[in-house]
Symmetry: C2
Subunit: 520 residues, 2 copies
């Protein structure tokens, strides 16, 4: 029963075909008749904007579905057209029961024949862009990395039209940390993930020399090899520069620029070619959410993510601190008990982590949320988790860990946008979709970020930064049709169509590795 494709503003939004409730897109008066595709219903009582209305009779104890997911159970019999909220819906066993891998969805109907024009790398992976990375291994070499990368303006790259740019990757750590500890290992995984990213045609590592995060250890531990570019080095050796070896700032900048000049022809020597859509690695993110996020952009991204998975591709959900409250649904959807256990282990880690600082994870609907129509913690968390669509949870990744399976997976990251996306991109995501209600102007090189507005007024006000207006769902476009549009845009962008944030040159400052632990 998908929502209508007509252009008349709908009274309710049916978020997923499996749902037995819809969300009021405007306040329905008691006795008001509202249209659904294939029929109509009458509101038994008033149902305010954002609140749920039953589409069918739901016997007591039976599940209530929203986003194609169980958000709780009827606490008494619910009639079609009745308002669904705290008085007749409760969390039930979702409170307690992980029910690991008990409701693993079947694989989606395959989507075949879809391709994008990408770069086939030497290791077989598919790139959507072709950048050169100048990676600063410690903050002490960050300025040098910037100067090296920025020495190449557009005129200097004019002879190399297949190179999208030279990007400095700088960060705030690399020393003042325990050697070999978690922070060190995480940072190395991030930096190696950028060096090896399929959107990186060649890279240069620049360090100071005396830092804890030694370049030699990074190269050895992460088995870094220069796959493309690097003519001046023995085949396969990474390009590294130490400022203390070179004799300081100016000499290292000079040497770095010379290395890149040698690298340019080789990195430029690539051509886009048709690649199956199954090689999309999609990162999904929301930032600056609003009351529309959970009923327009996020479920539409979920519909797009389901399509990526249906092609055989990968879709990554992150933001563990916002998954909290919906983990009981994801454990049910896991492909195995061990995948479910990995998620539970991460949720428990987060409880301990925030507890160390005297805080706690709490996604419970606030009085304002309840006023707005959100009944249960599962429903509230699903507003963000809806980006993961409805397919099975196939794996749970560490921060910046490269996927080794195909399908929908969780990566453990904070909800904080730049840290979350940096993790997914470092793990190999080659396209990002980013939903925003308030209007975030995010980008994250070397991956393109497609920004999806949740509402039309913000889309219009910030159209320079927004790629897609999911607010059209409130004017009658179905969630599924918007998902299709986003999926098409993912393939177009993967093929080289520039996103708004790429046109604006955003995406260097937003490289923010998540680093947990004491800075010493």
């Amino acid at each position: 029963m998908p929502a209508s494709h007509s252009s008349a503003p709908p009274s309710v939004i049916h978020l997923h075909p499996a749902d037995n409730v819809a969300v009021a897109a405007k306040t329905l008066a008691r006795g008001e008749k509202f249209a659904l595709s294939g029929g109509s219903l009458t509101a038994i009582g008033e149902v305010r904007f954002g609140h749920k209305v039953a589409l069918a009779a739901i016997p007591a104890g039976e599940p209530v579905y929203k986003y194609g997911q169980v958000i709780g159970y009827a606490s008494r019999p619910i009639s079609p057209g009745e308002h669904v909220h705290s008085h007749n819906l409760h969390l039930g066993e979702l409170h307690l029961e992980y029910a690991k891998a008990s409701q693993t969805p079947p694989p989606p109907t395959p989507i075949t024949g879809r391709t994008f024009d990408g770069y086939r790398r030497a290791d077989g992976r598919a790139g959507t862009r072709n950048y050169i990375a100048v990676i600063s291994t410690v903050n002490c070499s960050a300025s040098v990395a910037k100067y090296v990368a920025h020495a190449f303006d557009q005129s200097r790259l004019a002879d190399f039209p297949n190179i999208d740019g030279i990007v400095p990757f700088t960060h705030h750590s690399g020393c003042g940390m325990q050697f070999g500890g978690d922070m060190h290992q995480t940072l190395n995984r991030v930096m190696a993930g950028i060096a090896r990213h399929p959107n990186i045609g060649g890279y240069l590592l620049i360090g100071l020399g005396c830092e804890t995060g030694a370049m030699g250890y990074l190269v050895q531990q992460e088995q870094l090899l220069q796959l493309d570019g690097g003519a001046s080095q023995p085949a396969g050796a990474p390009l590294i520069l130490s400022m203390q070896d070179q004799g300081g700032t100016a000499k290292t900048i000079e040497a770095g620029v010379a290395r890149l000049v040698e690298m340019l022809p080789r990195v430029n020597d690539v051509r886009r070619q048709p690649i199956p859509a199954s090689e999309i690695v999609l990162a999904t993110e929301c930032g600056g959410s609003d009351a529309y996020s959970g009923i327009t952009a996020n479920p539409a991204v979920g519909a797009a993510a389901d399509r990526v998975v249906a092609t055989g591709g990968i879709s990554i959900l992150s933001e563990t601190s916002e998954i909290y409250g919906a983990e009981h649904l994801l454990t049910r959807r896991a492909t195995s008990v061990s995948v479910a256990d990995k998620l539970i282990e991460r949720i428990e880690w987060w409880k301990g982590y925030v507890g160390m600082f005297g805080a706690e994870l709490d996604n419970n609907p606030s009085p304002g949320n309840k006023e707005g129509g959100l009944t249960t913690i599962a429903e509230k968390s699903l507003g963000a988790v809806a980006k993961a669509g409805c397919t099975a949870l196939v794996d749970v990744l560490q921060y910046a860990e490269p996927p080794s399976k195909r399908g929908m997976m969780v990566m453990d990251t904070p909800g904080y946008d730049p840290a979350s996306v940096t993790g997914m991109v470092s793990g190999g995501a080659n396209v990002v979709v980013f939903t925003t209600g308030r209007g975030s102007c995010f980008g994250c090189k070397p991956a393109p970020s497609i920004k999806i507005a949740t509402n039309t007024p913000m889309y219009q006000r910030m159209v320079d930064d927004m790629d897609i207006n999911a607010g059209e769902i409130l004017s009658g476009v179905s969630v599924d049709a918007m998902g299709e549009k986003i999926f098409d845009e993912i393939l177009a962008v993967a093929s080289g169509k520039p996103t708004k944030s790429e046109k604006l040159g955003i995406g260097e400052e937003e490289f923010v590795p998540w680093l947990v632990g004491p800075t010493l």
Copy 2:
């Protein structure tokens, strides 16, 4: 008994006039005679490079002085010329006794009549530079802040010769944190400290709009007022721009550039004037230490810091994680029990903080340190703490807290260079001295950083980055004479002499606020 000023390489270095040991500058053979100013002594046994030799008889139980500080007590009688190490020196009561404010040094002999040519600000404070700051309140506006600041190249500033530059201050936080929590408060203190810094003639705050670290709260809580510049705003109002209000990236960049264009004539309208040396706020830091740090550059900086304090100025020691082990000496030097208690409280906080991650603070001399001549934890920690000279500890500051007293004080920061210096500069330091053995190429706008090499080979290899060669101490310049040279350089740089890192354009990437707590 200061070391000789002659150019002949000395056999031993007498670090401080009060010391009853010297450090071997080369290995002394058994029976070798070595010169001291005003006499000579004979080594009773072999004393290797870096090890200590007694200059006088030290009865059992009496203190051993190095850096003008007690590093332990003789565990048996020590003769002049005898090797002093674990066999005859132990930590004694320094293990246990804080002896708060028991040995407060008397005020140093005042130094009068010294001045620098600085900028007198409307609030009375003294600037050493005249920058404009574009402060990004959240990572989501960092790219915009960079684009606004970098729109002004040298040619565009040619008509405003009194402006040193326009600096973007960007960071990795500002959202994904608890509102009003420690991380939020600390970040606000840092950003307000930059906005109000005496080296900042005018500033612009740029945020996204929906971030936890709201601009309105920052402005209100920190009582930000635009002191200089800001013609387009009501008098006293800070200049703020929200990307969501402006309509996105491009419009905010345009608006930001326009605001700065209006600000330029007013910020340029300043002149340097003689200002008493007592208005120096000196930040001291070491990074990339080596075996020479504790015997050349750090004690020489201590001698310079003592001079700053003797003029009535402020000298800040930070790096709490490296103070650990010397805190018993600083508590003795405190001006009051309550100042000593503030330091102890911070040390205890650090133990708990690193303990949360299963680590511990441990500055105990390693077998390699002992091999190199370091006997006690107090002595090892003093190698870094020597930068604080020998005056009384007058206060202990929170991270980025502005000093409210004059004299030598500790600010609680990590040892990690960019985080440590960012705290001191945000607290109002107007000159930084930075010692390095391995060769750090640090800078931290808006304050100039004077980099001091610990040894001549590194100085020569990295002379593009190093301002002063304290390795000359190993060729016969006394620690005190080197301290005088550094003090002179502090006043010259405060008067506008550019440092090496300023010439190289270093100091934007190194703005690294220390943020403790969970990223959500």
